[in-house]
C-alpha cells in the first residue's frame, strides 16, 4: 500500500506564501543493516521527490538513507493561481508513487 498524507490549504489569497506538508509510507531501508545471520539487508529507499504546481516544478529533493522511514517533507510556495499540486516519489527497485491536491486561489 502506498498511502500518503498531503496537507495543502484548500484556499489561499493570491501572493500568500503557503506551506505544503507531505508524508508517505516507505520503510527507507538503509542498506547498512544486517540480519541476525549476518546477511546485508539491501537498500530500499525513496531517492527523489518532486512537487509540481500546474505543471511547473516548485520543489525537489534528493533523499538518502539518513532520511527516516515514512519520509516527511514540508516546504513553501507562493499561491499564484488555482489549480493542482502534483507530488511524485521515486525510489529503488522501480518504486514510484504519486499524489495530488488542488487549491483555489482568490
Amino acid at each position: 500500500m502506498a498511502a500518503a498524507l498531503i496537507n495543502v490549504p484548500s484556499r489561499a489569497k493570491r501572493g500568500d506564501i503557503i506551506e505544503i506538508r507531505t508524508l508517505t509510507s516507505h520503510i527507507m531501508e538503509t542498506g547498512f543493516r544486517h540480519t541476525m545471520d549476518g546477511t546485508l539487508v539491501p537498500r530500499d529507499i525513496i531517492t527523489s521527490f518532486t512537487c509540481r504546481y500546474n505543471g511547473t516544478e516548485i520543489f525537489r529533493a534528493d533523499l538518502f538513507p539518513a532520511i527516516a522511514a515514512n519520509p516527511y517533507l514540508s516546504f513553501f510556495t507562493i499561491a499564484k493561481e488555482s489549480g493542482k499540486f502534483e507530488f511524485e516519489w521515486i525510489g529503488d527497485n522501480g518504486y514510484a508513487s504519486t499524489a495530488s491536491a488542488s487549491i483555489t486561489v482568490e
Partner: protein, 259 residues
C-alpha cells in the same frame, strides 16, 4: 550497547534503593505523551505529520475491502466504523464468553476474520493487522478507557497485576519497579514513563513503524533479560488487560507517537 545499558540499570538500582512498590494515585496518572519533548509531541499533535495516520488510512481501506471465502468486508457487518467502533478499543482486551478468557483487539479482529469472513488470521505485527487495529482504535480517540470493568474479566486483571508486580529476568526487575516506583527518572537517557497504554497501536520513533502493546511489552522483557512471552500468550493478554484497567478513565490517543 548492552554493556552500557547494563551499567545504567545497575547505577539506577544503587541510587534509588529506598522506594517501595506503590501504585500510582488516579489523579497522578500521566500519559506517556507528558514525558516527551516538544518535537515528539508535535508529531503526534498534527494528523498530517503523524506517521501513525498512514496506517489508519490503510486500515480504513481494509475495513471496506471484501476478504475471505465469505466475501465480506468488516463494513458489511459493522457499517461505518465512525459510529460502530467508537469506544470499542477503550474496553479491550475484553472478556469473550465463548472462549472464557479475555481477547485483545488484534485477536478480536482475527476471530472476526475466522468466524465471519472465513479468512486466514493476520499475523501479529503484520501491517494489515496493525492498520485495522489502528483504524478501529482511532475511532475511540478521546474516549475514556473502561477495559477490565467487566466482572468476568476481574480474575484476569488480577493475573496481570501479579505479573506486573513479579520480578523476572537476569536483572530481576518487575514492571512496577520502574513504572510505579521510578517514573520521571531516566534509564539510559530515556525518561521512565508510567506505562499507561493510552495510544496503542502507536508509532515509535525507534521502531520507525506502528507497533502493538504486546511488542512494547516484549521489548521491556528483553530489556530486563527475561524470556518474552509469545505474541497472544495468555500472560501478555493479562498484562495488557491490567495495564488498560490501570489507565481506567484516561483518554485514548491512538495512534500515539512515542520515542
Amino acid at each position: 550497547m548492552s554493556f552500557w545499558r547494563a551499567i545504567a540499570v545497575v547505577a539506577f538500582l544503587v541510587t534509588v534503593p529506598g522506594l517501595l512498590a506503590g501504585e500510582i494515585p488516579s489523579d497522578a496518572r500521566r500519559s506517556g505523551y507528558s514525558f516527551m519533548g516538544p518535537e515528539t509531541r508535535a508529531i503526534q499533535d498534527d494528523d498530517t505529520s503523524n506517521p501513525g495516520m498512514l496506517f489508519v488510512l490503510d486500515g480504513e481501506a481494509l475495513w471496506a475491502k471484501k476478504t475471505g471465502s465469505a466475501g465480506k468486508a468488516c463494513a458489511d457487518c459493522h457499517g461505518d466504523a465512525r459510529n460502530s467502533m467508537k469506544g470499542i478499543a477503550a474496553r479491550y482486551p475484553a472478556f469473550d464468553k465463548t472462549l472464557g478468557r479475555p481477547v485483545t483487539l488484534d485477536q478480536r479482529i482475527n476471530l472476526c476474520r475466522a468466524d465471519h469472513q472465513q479468512a486466514t488470521p493476520l499475523p501479529y505485527e503484520s501491517r494489515d493487522l496493525l492498520a485495522l487495529s489502528a483504524f478501529v482504535a482511532q475511532q475511540s480517540r478521546g474516549v475514556a478507557i473502561t477495559a477490565g470493568d467487566d466482572p468476568q474479566a476481574k480474575p484476569f486483571v488480577e493475573q496481570g497485576r501479579n505479573l506486573f508486580m513479579q520480578r523476572e529476568g537476569q536483572l530481576n526487575l518487575a514492571c512496577t519497579n520502574c513504572h510505579d516506583d521510578n517514573f520521571d527518572k531516566h534509564l539510559a537517557g530515556a525518561p521512565i514513563t508510567q506505562a499507561q497504554p493510552t495510544g496503542y497501536p502507536l508509532y515509535r520513533l525507534e521502531w520507525q513503524t506502528l507497533g502493538s502493546l504486546e511488542r512494547r511489552l516484549r521489548s521491556c522483557m528483553a530489556g530486563v533479560r527475561a524470556q518474552a512471552y509469545d505474541y497472544g500468550a495468555p500472560e501478555l493478554v493479562a498484562l495488557e488487560l491490567y495495564l488498560m484497567s490501570r489507565a481506567r478513565g484516561m483518554p485514548m490517543e491512538t495512534p500515539a507517537v512515542r520515542p
